[in-house]
Amino acid sequence: MSHDLVIEPLGTRIVIKEGQTILDAALRNGVWLPHVCGHGLCSNCKVEVIEGEVDHGASSPFALMDFEREAGKALACCATALSDVVIEADVDVDPDARCLPVRDFTGTVSALRDLTHDIKGVWIEVEGGAMDFQPGQYINLTLPGVDGPRAYSLAQAPADGRVELHIRRVPGGQASSHVHERLRVGDRLTFTGPYGQFFVRKSQAKPLLFIAGGSGLSSPKSMVQDLLAGGCTQPIWLFHGVRTAADAYCGDLFRELSAAHANFAYVPAVSDPEAGDWDGERGFIHEVVERRFDGKFAGLSAYLCGPPPMIEACIQTLMRGRLFERDIFTERFLSKADAQKAKSPLFRKL
C-alpha cells in the first residue's frame, strides 16, 4: 500500500508507493535529493528518518553503520517506507524552487513551423488545461516508434497555454527525424514533466545574463518572456549564438521586447566567418559576451543553455571574469559520451 512521505526541511508531502525507494519517490515528485551511486554504497543520499519506519533494503553496512541505523539514519536510494514517514534530507531550501510534481500529460500537435533550416517549432495543445511549470524546465516526450522518451526544454511563455518546443534535427537521431519528417498537426503525443532545476533565481535580485546556443534558446526565451511579463526591473541580457544570420530565430520577438523594455538587451551573434550579410556581432558567443562585458562578470547571475562545448566555453569565460558556481545556472543534456568523460568532484553542478 502507499504511504505519505514528508521531506523536511522543505515540508513537501508526497505519496510513496509500496516498494518504491525514498529517492525515487522524491525525484519523481520534483524534489531533488543528493545522490550518486543509487545502490547503497556511497552514502551520499543519507537522510534522517524523523517519524515512521523504513526498510533499509540493500544499504551496505559500510555506507550505513549499525549505530546510524539505530540513530534513525537511512540511505534514500535503498530505503522503502513501511509506514507514513517524515525524513530530513541534506537539501538547501531553494526559495525559488516551486517543487512542482511530475505528471503525465497527453496533447495534440496544433502547429508546426520551421524556425531555421534544422530547428522545428512544435506547439502542443495540452488536454485538461495548461501545464504548470517553471520557465527553464523540460519535459520527457514520447514519440511513436522511438525507443524511450527524449528531453526537450519548454519554450513557451507561461501565459501561453500551449507547450512550445524547439527541436533541432540531430543527424541520424531517431526522435528528431520523426519530428522533422513525420510529425503532423493533429498527432497526439504523451509526455511527462516538468523536470529540472534550471529556473530563474528571482530571489537573488541580481542582473541576469542569459547565454543561449542554437536551439538552446528555448529555455531562455521562456524565462525572459516570463521575467518581462512579471515586471522584472533588473537589467537582462540575452545573447544568442548561432552559425549564420538565418539561424537567429525569434529575432523579431526579442527586438520588439527590447524596444518595449529599457532593461532588456538582445544580442545575437554569428560564428561562421562566411556568414554573409550581418550587421550584428560576430564570433563565438562566449567571446562576444566577454567583449561586451570587458571580461568582468562579478555581481551578475548567469543562465546558460546550449550544446556542451558552448556551455564549457561560457563557464570558463564567466569564471575567469570572477563569476562562480553559486551564480551560474545551467541544464546540461549530456550525451552518453559526455557522461562517461572523467569528471573531478571540484564542481557540484557545473
Binding site: 514528508v6 523536511e8 526541511p9 522543505l10 515540508g11 513537501t12 508531502r13 508526497i14 505519496v15 519523481r28 515528485n29 520534483g30 524534489v31 559500510f62 553503520m65 549499525d66 549505530f67 517524515v86 530530513e88 541534506d90 537539501v91 538547501d92 531550501v93 517543487c99 512542482l100 510534481p101 563557464i315 570558463q316 569564471m319 575567469r320 570572477r322 562562480f324 568523460k341 572523467a342 569528471k343 573531478s344 568532484p345 571540484l346 564542481f347
Partner: protein, 509 residues
C-alpha cells in the same frame, strides 16, 4: 501522486544551517587586540580573503557524531588486530620480504601523520575564519588517530621482525627518512594557506591515491589483514580530507584573482615535492611487494594522468594549469622505481630495512611492465650485481652520495630523455653552491633559497661529525641499527621466516 507543501509540519533548520550555526557561533571578532594581530599568519603569504563567510563547509560533521563514527571504526579495527595477533597472522604473509614495506611505512609515513596532526592544528589556529578552523581541527584529530592506529597495528610486527623498534628515533636521523621528513617540515613551516595547499590539496587530494592505495592493496595482496584494516579505517576519513583540500583551493581562487598565481606556484612546488617523495612508493610497488598489485607506471597513469588530468581540466576554469614539470614526472615513471631500488640496494648496509635482487620471475614481470626501459637500462645492472653476489662480493657502496638540496634524495636520477646521464643542476646562494637532481628541485630552491639553504642534509651532517662519529660503525650506532640492515639473504627476518616455514612443513608433513 500529489505533492502539497504541508503547512502543518513545523520548519526545521536544514542540516547545512544547523552546522553553520554550530561553527559560526564559535567565532567572535576580537576587541582587546586587532584581528590581524591575533591572526598574524593569515595575510603574510599574500593570499587575499575578502569574505570568510563564503567558505562552504565541505562536510557537516558535528563533534558528537564524530566521536561515534570514530569509536565504531576503532572497535572494528581493534577486533581485527586482536584476531590477527592471536592467530599469528604474520605467518601468513607471502614471505618476510613483505615486512620491509611496513618498515618503510612506519618509519617514513606514520610520523608524517603525526606531523599532519600538528600541522592542521597550527593552520587551523591561524585561519581567521571559523569554517576552515573547525574543518582543520577535525582533520587534526583524524591524523592523530591515524598515527596511533598505525603504531598499534605494527607494534605486533615489532615482536618478531627487525626494523620497527626505533621508528621515531630513525625518522629524524636516517638519511632516506630525511626525504619525507623534510617534505613535511617544509609544509608545516610554511604559512597556513601554503600548508593547506601542500598537504590538504596536493598531498591529500592529488597524490594520496598513489601513497595509500599501493600500501593498503599491497597489504591485502600479501596476507596482511591488520594493515589492510587500518587502511580501510583511515581511508574512511580520507573522503573528508579530500573535500577539505578541494574547498580550500576553490576558496582561495574565488576570493581574489591575485591569489591565482600564488596558488599556481604552490601547486607547482608541492606537486614536484610530492612526486619526488613518492619515488619511495614507486620502488615499494615494483620491487618490495612479493605479490605485486600493479606497476608504478600503471598507478601513475591511472591516478595522476587520468584522475589528475580531469581535476586540472576543471581547475583550468580558474586559470590554473597542470603543475609545472608534470610531463617530466610522467616520463620518469618509466625509470624512477628502478633507479631508487638501485640506490637502496647499494646502501642497504646503512638502511633500516633489507633489500634484495629481483628473482628471474620478478625481472620478467618488470620487463613486461616496462618494455621500453627495464631490459635496456636496468636488467643488465641487476645481472651484474647477481654475478657479484655469486662470487661472494655482494655490492655495498661505501662512499657517501651527494644529496639534492631540495628533495634530499641521493643524486642518482638521470636526465629527462637520456637515461644514461646523471642529471646535475646547481645554484649559487650567498657564496655557496647548492646541488639539485632536477629542474623541479632547482626551481623550488631558487624561489626560497633562504629557507632551503638551512636544510639538514644527512650526508653533510655525517661529514660535519654530527651523526655519531667519523666511521660507518659510529653512524650506524647513532642510528641505533641492530641487525636491521644488510641484504635480506643474511637477515634475521629471513632466518626466522625459514624456521617458521620448516615448522609448518613438519606439522603438515
Amino acid at each position: 501522486m500529489n505533492a502539497i507543501n504541508s503547512g502543518a509540519s513545523k520548519k526545521r533548520l536544514p542540516l547545512k544551517e544547523k552546522y553553520r550555526h554550530l561553527t559560526r557561533g564559535l567565532h567572535w571578532d576580537t576587541t582587546y587586540q586587532p584581528m590581524n594581530k591575533v591572526f598574524p599568519h593569515a595575510a603574510y603569504e599574500g593570499i587575499k580573503i575578502h569574505d570568510w563567510d563564503k567558505w562552504e563547509d565541505p562536510f557537516r560533521l558535528t563533534m558528537d557524531a564524530y566521536w561515534k563514527f570514530q569509536a565504531e571504526k576503532e572497535r572494528k579495527l581493534y577486533a581485527v588486530l586482536d584476531t590477527f595477533a592471536q592467530n599469528n597472522g604474520q605467518t601468513n604473509f607471502t614471505d618476510a620480504r613483505y615486512v620491509n614495506t611496513m618498515k618503510l611505512f612506519l618509519t617514513g609515513v606514520s610520523p608524517l601523520e603525526y606531523m599532519a596532526h600538528r600541522g592542521f592544528g597550527h593552520a587551523g589556529r591561524q585561519m581567521a575564519g571559523v569554517g576552515p578552523r573547525v574543518a582543520c581541527q577535525m582533520q587534526s584529530l583524524d591524523e592523530l588517530r591515524h598515527v596511533q592506529t598505525q603504531i598499534h597495528t605494527m607494534s605486533h610486527l615489532n615482536k618478531y621482525f627487525s626494523g620497527f623498534h626505533e621508528f621515531p628515533h630513525l625518522h629524524s636521523r636516517m638519511w632516506y627518512l630525511s626525504v619525507p621528513k623534510s617534505f613535511f617540515d617544509d609544509a608545516v613551516t610554511a604559512g597556513p594557506f601554503e600548508f593547506m595547499t601542500a598537504i590538504g590539496f596536493s598531498f591529500e587530494y592529488v597524490l594520496t591515491n598513489l601513497l595509500f592505495v599501493p600500501f593498503m592493496s599491497g597489504a591485502a595482496y600479501n596476507g596482511d589483514m591488520a594493515t589492510m584494516t587500518f587502511g580501510f579505517s583511515a581511508q574512511s576519513d580520507e573522503a573528508r580530507h579530500m573535500t577539505l583540500g578541494l574547498e580550500v583551493i576553490k576558496f582561495m581562487l574565488e576570493q581574489d584573482e591575485q591569489n591565482v598565481p600564488i596558488v599556481q606556484k604552490w601547486i607547482d612546488k608541492w606537486f614536484w615535492r610530492g612526486h619526488r617523495m613518492l619515488g619511495l612508493v614507486a620502488m615499494m610497488m615494483d620491487y618490495m611487494l612479493p605479490k605485486r598489485i600493479m606497476s608504478w607506471k600503471e598507478a601513475w597513469s591511472m591516478y595522476f594522468t587520468e584522475a589528475g588530468g580531469a581535476l586540472f581540466a576543471d581547475l583550468a576554469r580558474y586559470g590554473i594549469r597542470l603543475p609545472k614539470y608534470a610531463e617530466v614526472a610522467t616520463a620518469e615513471a618509466d625509470h624512477i622505481s628502478h633507479q631508487n631500488w638501485a640506490i637502496f640496494y647499494q646502501y642497504t648496509h646503512a638502511a633500516g630495512f633489507h633489500t634484495w635482487l629481483p628473482s628471474d620471475e620478478e625481472m620478467d614481470w618488470l620487463s613486461a611492465k616496462y618494455p621500453d626501459t627495464f631490459d635496456k637500462y636496468y636488467r643488465p645492472r641487476f645481472d651484474l650485481w647477481r654475478e657479484m653476489e655469486k662470487e661472494g662480493k655482494r655490492f655495498y657502496n661505501m662512499g657517501l652520495p651527494q644529496l639534492c638540496s631540495t628533495c634530499q634524495i641521493p643524486m642518482g636520477y638521470t636526465e629527462p630523455g637520456d637515461p644514461t646521464s646523471i642529471a646535475f643542476r646547481s645554484s649559487k646562494y650567498n657564496g655557496d653552491t647548492y646541488h639539485f637532481c632536477s629542474d623541479g628541485c632547482k626551481d623550488i630552491f631558487d624561489n626560497e633559497p633562504e629557507k632551503f639553504s638551512q636544510a639538514w642534509l644527512p650526508v653533510h651532517q655525517i661529514f660535519q661529525g654530527n651523526c655519531g662519529g667519523a666511521t660507518m660503525e659510529d653512524v650506524l650506532k647513532w642510528y641505533k641499527l641492530d641487525g636491521d640492515n644488510m641484504d635480506y639473504a643474511q637477515s634475521l627476518d629471513k632466518k626466522m621466516w625459514d624456521e617458521w616455514q620448516a615448522g609448518k612443513n613438519r606439522v603438515s608433513g
